[in-house]
């Protein structure tokens, strides 16, 4: 029960946060994340540098992502186990939403 609460407190994720986490299933740095989010969201979500920097700080603080390397002045991040759990939970919720959304088509 406790474990679930730890994950649930982060949901629902904002679109920016969701795509940021998603793009970090593989190690990536700041600008790489911005580009990947654009691709993953099929152009529907764009992340500005101010938004991204804040998201990375918060996600790292909460232990959802971790720094795995550095390239010049760019820090490279990757999803942690906890981050994967949060992402999976969010996707589960979205699947239910989309399924019930067929009502409106």
């Amino acid at each position: 029960m406790n474990g679930q609460d730890k994950i649930d407190q982060y949901l629902p994720l904002t679109e920016s946060t969701y795509y940021t986490l998603l793009s970090l299933v593989e190690p990536l740095h700041g600008y790489g994340i911005m580009q990947k989010v654009d691709v993953l969201s099929e152009g529907t979500v764009k992340i500005g540098p101010g938004t991204l920097y804040g998201a990375l700080q918060a996600l790292e603080k909460e232990g959802l992502i971790v720094k795995v390397g550095e390239e010049e002045r760019r820090k490279i991040y990757e999803l942690t186990g906890k981050g994967k759990e949060v992402l999976k939970k969010q996707v589960e919720r979205l699947v239910v939403m989309v399924r019930s959304g067929s009502l409106v088509r």
Binding site: T14, E15, S16, G30, Y31, M34, V45, K46, I47, G48, P49, G50, T51, L52, Y53, G54, A55, Q57, E72, R73, R74, K75
Partner: protein, 184 residues
Amino acid sequence: MTSIKHYKWFWPWQDQKEEAWLESMSQGGLHLQSVHLPCAYTFDQGEPRHYTYRLDYILVNKEKKPEYLQIFQDAGWEHLGEMSNWQYWRKLVQEGEFAEIFTDRESKLKKYQRILGVMGFFLAFLVFFGINLFNNWSRFEDLAALIAAIYAAAMICYAVLIPLYVVVVVQLLRRIEQLKKKAL
């Protein structure tokens, strides 16, 4: 290239006004070079250009600064300097193109909450010491005229600064409430 100085005061909640002013200056051929004091701007004279100026307010330590700057620079933003936690950014845009450093409401909100945090801290500090000073006034009156004058001057400063900071905090709270307002 000639340098021109302009003096203008913007309150912490008037960042959008400041951004618009810098953009109109660039459209007139004056491009921000640096900010010296909170009200002193130095411009380079050149051709009119379509720049988007954006101000960030961030408390970032020396360790994290390079990463912060690189993320913006990779995204095509040019850093013009900083002034008391305010970071000045600009990007060249095409006619009709939009560039933003904050792309969702939550992160925009957080910026104003950061400003509020710092201003609120100063206000609390001023109030605490102001009350302290006021309570001890009777003791200072008996001291030498010079010391009493210094304390009187300090009290006047507090009397001016405290209402100012209250106004700043209130206006920031209003801006934050505006951003928080969602129809749903």
